[in-house]
């Protein structure tokens, strides 16, 4: 089969036609279908209309919610919020000031202790045992038994420990 014969063979397919019933019913169906009208920017009017409609609905809903939240109940909401917030802030302030007072008190105590320790260390380093109250030293000295260095209290304590 040469090229010409092949093309002739292909051309015989031109006899294929759609069924007349199909052709007629399709024509009626299509021509009865409402044609989309185009709006701006080549956008079909109904799509444009639908999207505008949807946008408008969303905007209105948002506005309504905003009105409900901040408009109609505004005064009541403000009162509730003010009271609620006021009480909350007051509670927080009290707790905070108590905490600060506690911290200050601790700081003062630590400062005093530090001052006293500092003073004691200074005296110890400069005067040796001289800074200790002589009356206490005398009393302690009386309790000491230099002749018999065996301290019976130690034995008692060791017995208890063992």
């Amino acid at each position: 089969m040469n090229e010409k014969e092949l093309i002739e063979k292909l051309k015989t397919l031109q006899a294929i036609e759609p069924g007349p019933e199909f052709a007629e019913s399709l024509k009626l169906t299509i021509l009865q279908t409402p044609k989309r009208r185009m709006g701006g920017f080549g956008m079909p009017v109904n799509i444009l209309y639908q999207s505008l409609n949807f946008g408008l609905a969303m905007t209105l809903t948002a506005v309504f919610i905003l009105i409900v939240i901040s408009g109609i109940t505004g005064s009541l909401r403000n009162q509730i919020l003010t009271r609620a917030l006021g009480v909350e802030i007051l509670n927080q302030n009290t707790a905070l000031s108590q905490h600060i007072d506690q911290q200050l008190s601790d700081a003062q105590y630590l400062n005093t202790v530090a001052e006293k320790t500092n003073l004691a260390l200074k005296e110890a380093s400069t005067k040796g045992l001289g800074h200790i109250n002589p009356l206490i030293l005398e009393k302690e000295a009386g309790n000491l038994n230099f002749k018999d260095p065996v301290n019976t209290n130690i034995d008692v304590l060791l017995d208890k420990a063992l």
Partner: protein
């Protein structure tokens, strides 16, 4: 190309049903053949042809005569519709029953049977070609489109279409020789 086609298109764009009706009558057999020879099934070809013309009617405002004909635009739609169709399923086997080609009523019954058998073989042979080769052969020799119209419909240069056509005929010839 239909006489005064551009005028008909303009009137159809204005919503004139009769104008689109005339375009439909002119192009229906061609588009139907094109789709049928691609999908090889009569009922599916009818559904897809329906889709092609419905899309054309609904979107006719988008067609602008920019050097390519209304026919080429219709073939572009037909190509897209068949591509979408094949996206979901694999091509089916060609059979006389599925093709269910209707012959003109005046055809002799014996001739008709022989013709249908020949067509069945031919459609099978076309199926062996690449998609674009099959499309070019159908548009060029079955639907009698010019090289330019085929190039516009497929989106290739006229030179490329000539080359595809040459290769397709060569492949088809080889198929019938073996």
């Amino acid at each position: 190309m239909l006489e005064d086609e551009n005028k008909l298109v303009e009137r159809a764009k204005d919503g004139k049903v009769q104008a689109f009706g005339l375009l439909y009558e002119h192009y229906l057999p061609k588009i139907y053949r094109f789709v049928l020879l691609k999908v090889s099934h009569r009922e599916e070809a009818e559904d897809l042809t329906h889709q092609v013309f419905l899309k054309a009617w609904e979107n006719i405002e988008q067609y602008e005569f920019k050097g390519y004909s209304f026919g080429s635009w219709l073939y572009q739609i037909a190509r897209n519709v068949t591509i979408d169709y094949y996206r979901d399923r694999t091509p089916r086997e060609v059979s006389l029953e599925a093709l269910a080609i209707e012959l003109p009523s005046e055809t002799d019954p014996l001739d008709g049977v022989q013709k249908k058998l020949d067509w069945s073989k031919l459609v099978k042979a076309l199926k062996e070609l690449k998609e674009v080769e099959r499309e070019v052969l159908i548009m060029r020799f079955v639907d009698d489109l010019s090289i330019k119209d085929v190039a516009d419909a497929i989106g290739k240069t006229e030179g490329a279409i000539k080359l595809i056509q040459h290769r397709a005929i060569k492949s088809l010839k080889k198929y019938f020789e073996t």
